[in-house]
Every structure is written in structure tokens, then in C-alpha cells.
Subunit: 436 residues, 2 copies
Amino acid sequence: MKTFKIGLLGLGTVGGGTVNILQTTLDEIQRRIGHNIEVSIIAVRDLNRPRPVDTTGITMTDNPENVINHPEVDIVVELMGGTALAKDLLTQAIKNGKHIVTANKALIAEFGNELFALANQNNVIVNYEAAVAGGIPIIKAIREGLAANKIEWLAGIINGTGNYILTEMAQPGADFEKVLKTAQELGYAEADPTFDVEGIDAAHKLTILASDAFGIELQFNKTYTEGISKISAQDIQFADLLGYKIKHLGIANRTKNGFSLRVHPSLVAKDVLIANVDGVMNAVMVKGDHVGPTMYYGPGAGAGPTASAVVADIIDVIRAQSQNVDDRVPGLGFRTDSLTQAPVESIEEITSGYYLRCFVNDQAGALAKISATLADYQISVEQLHQEPSENNPDDATLVIITDKVKESVLNQALQKLIELDVVDSQLQRIRVADLG
Amino acid sequence: MKTFKIGLLGLGTVGGGTVNILQTTLDEIQRRIGHNIEVSIIAVRDLNRPRPVDTTGITMTDNPENVINHPEVDIVVELMGGTALAKDLLTQAIKNGKHIVTANKALIAEFGNELFALANQNNVIVNYEAAVAGGIPIIKAIREGLAANKIEWLAGIINGTGNYILTEMAQPGADFEKVLKTAQELGYAEADPTFDVEGIDAAHKLTILASDAFGIELQFNKTYTEGISKISAQDIQFADLLGYKIKHLGIANRTKNGFSLRVHPSLVAKDVLIANVDGVMNAVMVKGDHVGPTMYYGPGAGAGPTASAVVADIIDVIRAQSQNVDDRVPGLGFRTDSLTQAPVESIEEITSGYYLRCFVNDQAGALAKISATLADYQISVEQLHQEPSENNPDDATLVIITDKVKESVLNQALQKLIELDVVDSQLQRIRVADLG
């Protein structure tokens, strides 16, 4: 039995959860690993603030350098968030030969390539299970559990705030602003909700999942990101009528010449299991060529779930430290010299079905022109629904679900419709996810 | 780059799938592990039968001893099924210092304790991801992904045949015998369906999951097993009316003094995600004390999915062979000297809600007596539904869902009702699963 010493950067929600697990569940963990884990030192911003856990016996410091340079620390656990300082500290920690566990999705998505390269040079491990989908062991599932497969695609509900908002918007009388306010009151959404609602948080996570699935470098800046703030309660009702739910999905798939990485609202057929993942819960579907469709579901945030992933990563580091460096699971699941250079393509390269909603003044004439224009671009209509306006029976709201078409072609057709003055520029366009 | 040599016992559906993956996806696997994998020798029963895959360059033998004693074989992959011969062969293979990968749930559930002990003595690994829930990496999720948790309970749809039958029985006009016949025609059920339909296959899997979750010895003979052949289409309709689906679940949970391991039909509230897992698909919910509820979903059988798990296990062996023996993930997820001796308790010790369905001759009188008897045993009624008989309005079918009660107490109450001649001895009793 050896004691592994942890140095913690940050003692907020997840940091507190991590210390709590190591205090309450250490006997169960020792039954599994036969080693001891001890939190030796924690860096916090303000030494005088009250703590969520008992820190008796742990050295507290307001200088993070004391953690990363601590000679007895084996594993540095970074739970401070932010990218600039965290990157500097972890860079130095890696150079000091410390293994790293982090829950920092922005850091890995934006600076992971550098960090993994540095970790390789220094023969240390960088684990980040907690960075994606909280307590769900999705990184492990992709890097190890499905390692016999060529992954074809993955699609996930990887932001609990957004999923809560879309779920609640299906209730009668709810709209985006109202639900967002409730989410803020319940603590599910930040005062500034941009990161969650506009899909940036999900894009960080999707970037990481895609690299693990395909063996490509992390390319956050190539990940297409579209938020949910323009989804109306009416869209959710129309989608329901046509057999779909609207979910904010992160999707990564293979394209003709490379890969597509994207976060956007998506119509999902109700009979696909992930369409029934509601509230703040997360879920990720992964389709492998041999295994077929699989799904992983659980809480995507919170002290307990996220800390569950952090401590699992610590356990993995402890188990892997005696392994040949070359036999360890590589940072992105694939060996650095095997990462493919095939490009992440523009969103215009994807092929998808589309939900279109528009208001038309002259319903009979408009329908004829819309149909003709779509036909010109060889876009087939799969479902069509129209609701006459309450005030003027000649006006109508028109909802169309198209068959699959290349996005660049759809864009040309929509541009044509706007030029013809058939539809207003407020035309709603939501992609239909094919998760079959 | 080292070449790891595989000796295969059996080349049926899963064996063919395994060779197929190693032929078609080896380049992707090498990108991950940086080593080569080669199938060197395969033992089959009859050398003259046609094969599902090209075996050019592979030594074929009808003597399995040639596989387990082959000096160059690193990993013996057992896909022959059955317990007696498989146990003898793997025992010898382990003594020969070979690592083992097996998909044999019966073998692990019934003889795993001996095999893991022997593997420990010989410093080799025995992996068995494919034995439970096909392609879903559920063993890895429990042994590693959730290793920071004390697992509170798990509940799984772990037999695709049974789930297909229950799903189809919800269609109008379907009954058990009719659906079973279709399942047999589609190849989802064996000619003798006992193993699947009576829950023996699921009990093997549940036994394994429970040991990995709680750190207890494999105790297949203590696993309570009840099949689905007595579920009627009427039960499925009544359950639907009351807000439930009927699923054949394997459930493992902690009890006051130990553990409960059981496979039986269960009512599952429709708003729990696993209630929506239909057809031949499998899913396992795992509740950890820190992570909360998680779920793992995918195909539970078939060449591709099962072989996906077999090859993932091979990859794990390759990655773990350089590790200190003591740092490897233990066979049952917990170190042998840490397995708890707390008992697996009798089914009578569980606490559950119950669905009761009975036919009564005198509906007013019977309801009074049933209510009084349940009250005598302090059993509360949560929902009650009655349907008058078409022929005689005094006769009725009565459906009751009780609040939670200890099963031994419920049994006393039901015995009393039968003695009083209030209900017939055909009384249907199905447990309600609490997966909240």
C-alpha cells in the first residue's frame, strides 16, 4: 500500500466534492485499488473564505505555485477554471513531473494539443474525464470501451442548462426568456448565460469528444456553434406535432473528405432514446462501425457527479503509473504520431434534413413558389404543415421538413426564396439529426 | 511495435465477428495502441465446416489443447460457450501463463471465483466485458468509470430476447406464445427459449454485475430468478394504464444486512428512461452515491457488438501487461482480500411496491375483504383499477398497486386472501421497480 499525494488547485463546488469523496468513500476506493490517496495541499484564492469541507490536516495556501512545486505531490488536480493561469500552472506542473487531472473543458479544448505534447515529453498522464458530461464516464467509453471500432459519429446533449431550458419550453405558456429566468433562479444557469445558451460550453466538450472518437487534433476554432436563444415555443410545438423533439446537440461525424464538428439545435425523432433525455441530464450517443449505436446517460454537472469523474481519473493515474509509458491510453485516445490531418470541414459541407418555418402573406401563391424553388434545387419535402393566421385566412405559418440535402444547396434555395420575397428574412431553419 | 498473438477457442458468430474486426479495423486499432494483434491459431469442433471469415494464414485445429499450449500465444480468447470444457481449458491456459478474454457469462458467473483466484496466482488477466450486455462497455464503467462511488444499486435490461418479447406484447392482439414464435423465426430466440425467457441468462449477467458493483464473490446460486412466461398481454395493458411499462430487469441492491440479487419482471414508471428501451436493445442503470443515476445503452448481442467488447478486452490486456500486477484492475473490480462476506439475502427480505391482478366473483364484497386484509398487514394501496366482467357485472378484474412493503409481509397477506377464498390462486403479482 502506497500513499498517493494530491495537490488541489481550487476548492469551489467540484473541489469540495472531490475532497468530500476522498473523505467519505476512501475505504471503498481502497478496497478497489489497494493504495491510499491523501489530499496534501490545496491552493485557494482567499484563505479566509469559508470552505464546503473540513480541511483539517491539509495545507492551505493562496499561492498555487506551492501546489505545483510541492515535492511530495504526485498528482495535481486542477479545478480552478479559466485558461490563462491554469495553462501556465499545469505546464509547470507537467515539467515538474506531476500527473494531471483536470475538469477544465475550455483548457483542454483550446490548449490540449500543447499540454498533451508536453505531457508526452515528460512521461506524465493528463486525464480529463470530468471535462465532458460530468459524472458520465464517456471519455473512458470512447477511448477504451469502444476502442475496437472506427467511430462513425457521435451526438450528445452535453449542456444541462440548455437541455433544461428546451425541456421546460415544451410546457404551455413557457418561452425562452421566462424559462431562462427560472433556470437562473434555480441555479441551473449563470447570471450571464452566454457560455451555456450560445453553445460555447458544449462546443468545448464536443471538440474533445471528436478528437477522442476520430483521432484528430483538438480544433475548437473549427467547431461550428449555434445557440438556442432563437428557438421559440412555437417551434417546439410544431416539432412535436411532426414527431420530433428539439434538443441542443453537439454532433461529430465523418464527411466525404474529413470531419464535421458542430453544436446547434436539432430535431430528434421522438422514438430515438436520446430525445427522451430531459431536464439537466446529459447523454451522449456513440455509433461505432462494429458495435452499432450506444448511449451513455447521467448528470452532466454538480459537485458529486463531476467529482466522481475527477476521482475516477485519479484512480486511473494511480493504476497507470507503473505501466510502460507507451502502453498508457494516449491523451486523445490515439497515439500522437497517428492523429489524422484530414480537415474539419465547414458547416456548408454537411448533409441534413431541415425544419423550415416561415410566415407567408399569400398562402396559396407562396406554397407554389416555395415548392417550385425547392424543386429547382432538387430538395424534396418530407412533411408539410400549415396553420392559417387567426386574423387573415390568406396569411399562414408554413412548416416544412425537407429530405436530406447538402447545407450549401439549401442555403442557395433559401436565399432565392428571400430574394423572391416569398418568405421573410425571419425564416427559421433547424437541422434534423439523423441518429438511426 | 510488438505483435500480440491470439489463440481463439471457437469460431461461431462471435468468433467470426472477432476475426472480422481484427481483419477490417486493425489499422484504426493500431493508431490507438501502437501494437500489432495477430490471430495465430483457432480451435474449432469440425475442421470441414464453412467459416464466416477468411482464415488464410491462421492455423486451424480441432484440438483446443493446441491453442492453450501454443508457446507463442499471448492471449487465449474463449468463445466456445458451455462451462465444463471451457473451464478445464481456461484453467490450463492460465497455468500456462496466458491472459484470458472470454464472452462466457455462465462460466464467469458459476466458476469465476476459482478462475480469478488462479489468475491471481499466475499473474495473468481474465477479462469478460463481452459476457454482459454485448457491446456496451458496462463492466468497464462499473469497475473503472464509477470507481469513486459506493454503488447503491443497479438495474438492467440484460436479455434482448426477453425485452423484444415484452416490447412486442404491447401490440394489439399479441400474446406471449405468438410473440415468442415470431422471435424464434427472426432468430432472436432459441428453439429452446428457456435460458432467455426464464431469466437464467440474465441471472448469470446480473451475478457478474453485482460482484463488480459491490465487491462480493460471485454467487449465482443465490440470485433469485423469475421468468416472463407468466406475463399476459393484459398485464402489459393494465400497467400502461397505470403509468408503467413491464420490463424483465436484473436488479442488485443493498439490503439492511447485505445484498439482494434478482431477475424478475418489473413495473417501471414510464418517465424513467430505461422504460423506453425497447426491442432487442440492452441498458443498465447504475446508481452511485456520488454520481447519482447513470445509464448505459446499446446492442446486447450479435457478432459485431459482442466482438467489439472482446477486442476491447484484448486491447486492455495489451495495455495492462506492462503494469505492476498489483496495479491492474482486479477481476471483480475489488481486490480479492477486500471482498465483503455480507450475505446475499433471500427475496423475502426485499422491500418493493407490488402490482396485483386478480379475478373476483363478488366485486363489492371482495374489495372490502381485500382492503381489510391489506390494512391488517399495514399495506397501503397506491392505485386501484377495476374492470367489470363482460358477462356478469358482479364479477371483475381487480388491479392494485401497493406502496412499498417487505416481500415476506406481502406474501403473508396474499396467503391470507387465498385462504379466505377472496382471490383465486392464479393471482398475478409483479414487483414495481423503484429507479428514482
